[in-house]
Symmetry: C2
Subunit: 335 residues, 2 copies
């Protein structure tokens, strides 16, 4: 296990400590173990706070999106594990301005159970909350079971829209409503070439042959829809895009944003080779791309692979996508 | 070889095509093969243009720093290979505003030979140029042979300072002078845990055992100063920092910027564990850190490992470090 770390049991605590030390001008943590990360100078205009939570090992997801224009806070769990309901509750109390707290997170059972409990506690303090789960991974369950689908890189677009809506001074219901509209138009699918190693476990999350690729692999190594022989980048791009278009057809004149996300060990050069094909396919359909995101947005430590997310835009969603944002891990100056 | 690509011989051309397609609002290329990448809307205030050149496989280095506040242009070679003198010359001609062109690049023989030739051609067109090489890698040669040292991640700080100096409307000589001052205060050293694979070669650049780390490894797999058993992150941080402090001692009250750079496959979580130790060491010495850079700035495709760069600041260098910059791969809003 070739990791740069001290004791495996300190992996998360020490990486969080490093993050707070690096970004102390913009992030703060009310707890000694840094399991709650808050924006230090949240927008004074927001009525609604937007928060998330999730396990470690996916940087910049989740805590990397805490900051101007995106999240007010994030509760942080161990590697690939939900944080506790207690930490989520503490975070919700810390960020509420009286306008309520929008809890936006990936559709994983631990996170969902704990957020439910945290919001129940918050209700006793008269804090309004709305919970919404991101379920963008089309490979994780068939369309008729879409409530079972997992959240992957599409989370980032959801944070962007919810954060911009909050910056636009919308109410809790309105922030939830526009984010829900966004989520119906955000579809993703991933592909993995190698597993990753959880520090405390010390062994690979799954095995895959040297000439194989797993289409639809989850970011915690959840099984995909099929294992195939390694294929050319253009064929991979087509496979991912076609799986998304099957559920969310695009037509002449449509506008989208596209995210080609690296899972950890895949170089940017390879992500741009994929993007090239996606661009050409969409261009041929006369679909316009706004603000393409190419890079590492939601990772699985040192896993090699990628995911594709397509976000179909309305005028309103486009406006919020283009709102400025500035966090330690994500900066957009578009307006 | 698990790479997301089509034909290996098209790897560079297709990744460049993807980059231009993704960032067409900010980058442009005057040649069909995109071997010259130019900033589309360079600052109208600059008298001097700042350019670089280098091989592919190191994204965001080199071309990722073309854009507002940093480089006017970059000539791009094949994987780990210098671009041609012809492309460099063409770039110099394209960016000159009459105030001269500052050519700032890593100290590699191919790049140096070709830039010399390109600048000789440019002189025939009455274009003033100054060439300066970055030699920040303290592991690549002893101090008494510092002219033989290679340029690694310290290049990014050099681009930042030269770009800010150009934005501050300094003359060619002045831009060169402040960049030279910066380079005397920028020291780096890397460590590799795994090799990477050049697409057209199809095999690893070197071999290293499962329980070993190579201290001082170059970004093309050049041998380091020693191969050691894998060590705790804090010991690695100390080893890297001590090698730098040996040449560039820091004292109570000094101000620095610090870059903890990932070589490709090392997750951000691990880079922050390293940063934590660097922060604690410098804090203990009463040395202040400005604008820490933690992430992937100069990579070797899918190589696992890291580099540490320390940049000792004067008031003037700090001012230029904090100047805003905005390229497709690097954004800083500090001012």
């Amino acid at each position: 296990m070739k990791k740069i770390m001290n004791l495996p049991e300190n992996f998360v605590a020490e990486s969080l400590d490093g993050i707070i030390k690096a970004h102390s001008a913009r992030l703060m943590s009310p707890d000694k173990e840094h399991r709650i990360i808050l924006s230090k100078n949240p927008s004074p205009h927001r009525k609604v706070a937007v928060v998330t939570a999730g396990g470690s090992g996916h940087l910049p997801t989740f805590l990397g999106y805490v900051g101007d224009g995106m999240l007010d806070g994030c509760a942080v769990g161990n590697i690939f594990a939900s944080p506790s309901a207690g930490k989520m509750y503490e975070m919700i109390k810390a960020v509420d301005r009286g306008g309520g707290v929008f809890c936006l997170f990936g559709n994983y059972s631990g996170d969902s159970l704990n957020f439910q409990m945290a919001c129940d506690y918050a209700a006793l303090d008269n804090i309004n909350t709305i919970q919404m789960t991101v379920k963008d991974d089309v490979a994780s369950a068939p369309a008729y079971l879409s409530d079972k689908r997992r959240g992957i890189a599409g989370l980032v677009y959801a944070y962007k829209i919810a954060g911009a809506a909050a910056d636009d001074m919308l109410s809790l219901d309105e922030v939830a409503s526009i984010t829900d509209e966004a989520l119906h138009n955000i579809k993703s699918i991933g592909a993995a070439l190698t597993p990753c190693i959880v520090p405390e476990a010390g062994k690979a999350t799954f095995t895959i042959c040297d000439d194989e690729i797993e289409i639809g692999m989850g970011i915690h190594g959840e099984p995909g829809i099929e294992t195939k022989n390694l294929m050319p980048a253009d064929t991979l791009a087509d496979t991912l895009l076609d799986n998304i278009l099957k559920e969310m057809p695009l037509a002449d004149g449509d506008e989208v944003s596209v995210m080609v996300n690296g899972l950890g060990a895949t170089p940017p050069e390879e992500l741009y080779i994929l993007y090239r094909r996606i661009f050409d396919r969409l261009h041929h359909m006369n679909v316009s791309i706004y603000m393409p995101h190419i890079g590492e947005f939601a990772t699985s430590m040192e896993m090699a692979g990628c995911s594709l997310t397509v976000f179909k835009l309305s005028e309103k969603l486009k406006k919020y996508l283009l709102y400025p944002a500035n966090t330690p891990f994500y900066t957009s100056l578009n307006k």
